[in-house]
Amino acid sequence: MMRTIRRFGVAVVMIWMVTTLTFFLIRLMPGNPIATAYQTLLQQGMTAQQAAVQIHILYDVYPNQPVLTQYFVYLWNLVHGNLGTSIVYTGRPVLGLILAAAPWTLLLVSMGLLISFVIGLLLGVIVAIHRDTWIDNLTSQVASVFHGVPNYITGFIFLYFFTVMWPWFPFGNIYNPSIAVGLTFPFVASVAYHAVLPVAAYVFGAFGGWTLSTKSAAMAVLGDDFMMADKIRGLTSAQRLDHLVNNSILPLFTGFVLSLGFMFGGSVFIESMFSIPGLGYLVQSATTQRDYPVMQATFMLLSAAVILANFAADTLYSRIDPRIRN
């Protein structure tokens, strides 16, 4: 318990460090939108004072404030749950933008991750049981190829074939805008229909890796003495398969939980390709337009997700493996 608390403390400190780093790094990037707006106002004939007031009204920042002061104001607001307001979408709170985008990313990426993990687990175990047969050769080759192809390539191929050549699936957005948003059947069905291609792109990019790692884990377990002993004890095939799968999942578990953290960042390509208004899309558009508050908040979220996933993996692993528990 003490160890869990300490680990959590370390995670919080790491998130603070990442936040600080992003805050200053962002301001080192060329192209400061506030400075540009300030200059424009000056050129329009405003006095420096008027321009500063105008900027403050528009963006809730003081353009001539020292960066360090800005940083402490930012931190102060942050611990009070205020992430600031967007510069590009003038006046809209960053938290609102993130809350609007996050569900789509969570939906797509968790579906993609879960489906690719289950497919990879099944294939990996089958391949390990039938190693050195044509099933193994074929599946392992296919898995290696898909593992090597980045998901934006598969995404692009899917887009071309299934929205252009054969327009079976819709392109762009995550639901049909003519349907009222809500937990109704038409809306959910529309979301599912729109999600097929992006989720498929994610699955095709990820299942190969899971297949290969499951295969090596399962082959190691198959060589363990207890699998041999299980047969001699007369356990049923189902019971032996159960032991095989449970023991093979262990080494994959950490990777799986970490992927949950990384998936927020990994969704940038797929979301911009399929025009899905998720976090990845938000990160991308905020970065190209130098929307500081949005960039800051999304970067912090992406790194916090990885750090917290790491913490979760550490804490949960000891729950599923009794050998680590004490």
């Binding site: 003495d225 207890f226 002993a229 001699i232 004890r233 007369g234 049923t236 009794p322 050998r323």
Partner: protein, 329 residues
């Protein structure tokens, strides 16, 4: 004439390899009499464990039984049974005490969960009674039953695990137990206590057993009859006393010569140099000849078969009457 509990007939096991099929077990014949313990000895890699696994038709991949019969009294040939019948036969009639019991248990389950799984696999209607029986056996083996059943395999010490392994082997009341080097991984104190437990079980329950080991001292202690294995073949079988006092095969003699004596100079013990050959496919001649001091042209041309030299004493060697000068040691 006592009853035969299991007869292994002309057993051949091969492992596929890049060079061709490797014969791990070559035309082995064994008979285990009811209530007796048969010692199976030989150096590592000679096929002892493979014989034990073959007796349950559970040879690990890429090995397979090429031919042979495993005839159990009252059950017939194991290899002729259906898959499901074989599965149920294992552990209900023949169980195994493994060499490293800690690794033969699923690391993710408590011992009790594994017992309940065993109950389900063998369609035992009252799993609670089986758990109770496990607790009783633990008590008899001087283990804290409640603690053992509640533990994960990694929480037990080496000696405890081996006794839990014995408990599991006894659980379904089999007629035969195969002891596959049950004491090899233990320190000598635990070895002694495990051996005493095995002797006790043997005496009380009249269980028949095959005891596999490379430790001659242990064989002398527990076995009624001994079979010496070399490179997949049985080269000599004899009652334990006979084998230790008057071994006839040059390999058996070399094994005994390698033992340090309690009386006399321990340095007089002579190890055997060289290693057993790898047997790919059918190999003619005696497999021991390369390491044998008595080898002649005949040993290369023909294969010596097990021949009776005495009642219950059979040897596969052309040169059984050669003196090996052991008297001078």
């Amino acid at each position: 004439m006592s009853e035969v509990a299991v007869a292994v007939d002309d057993l051949v096991v091969e492992f596929s390899s890049d060079e061709g099929p490797v014969r791990a077990v070559d035309r082995v014949n064994l008979q285990l009499e009811r209530g007796k313990i048969l010692g199976l000895i030989g150096e590592s890699g000679c096929g002892k464990t493979t014989v034990a696994h073959a007796m349950l038709n559970a040879v690990a991949e890429p090995g397979r039984i090429v031919r042979g019969r495993i005839h159990y009294a009252g059950h017939g040939d194991l290899l002729g049974m259906s898959e499901e019948a074989q599965r149920l036969f294992r552990w209900q009639h023949v169980s195994v005490v493994f060499q490293a019991s800690q690794n033969t248990l699923n690391p993710l389950q408590r011992i009790e969960a594994q017992i309940r799984e065993l109950a389900r696999a063998h369609r035992i209607s009252n799993p609670n009674a089986l758990v109770g029986r496990a607790r009783e056996i633990c008590d008899r083996l001087r283990l804290d039953g409640r603690r053992m059943l509640d533990a994960y395999p990694h929480q037990l010490s080496g000696g405890m695990r081996q006794r839990v392994g014995i408990m599991l082997a006894l659980l379904l009341q089999p007629e035969i137990i195969l002891f596959d080097e049950p004491t090899t991984a233990l320190d000598s104190l635990s070895q002694e206590s495990v051996l005493r437990i095995i002797e006790e079980i043997h005496a009380k329950e009249g269980i028949s057993g095959v005891f596999i080991t490379h430790d001659l001292g242990i064989v002398a202690e527990v076995a009624d009859v001994v079979a010496v294995m070399y490179a997949g073949r049985i080269v000599e079988t004899a009652p334990t006393g006979t084998l230790f006092n008057a071994p006839r095969h040059p390999y058996s003699r070399a094994l005994l010569n390698a033992l340090p004596r309690l009386t006399g100079d321990p340095r007089a013990a002579k190890g055997l140099t060289g290693a057993p050959p790898k047997v790919v496919g059918e190999v003619a001649g005696c497999l021991f000849r390369e390491r044998c001091r008595f080898q002649t042209a005949q040993c290369k041309m023909a294969e010596p078969v097990l021949t009776s030299v005495d009642a219950d004493h059979r040897v596969a060697c052309f040169k059984i009457n050669e003196e090996d000068g052991r008297a001078s040691v």
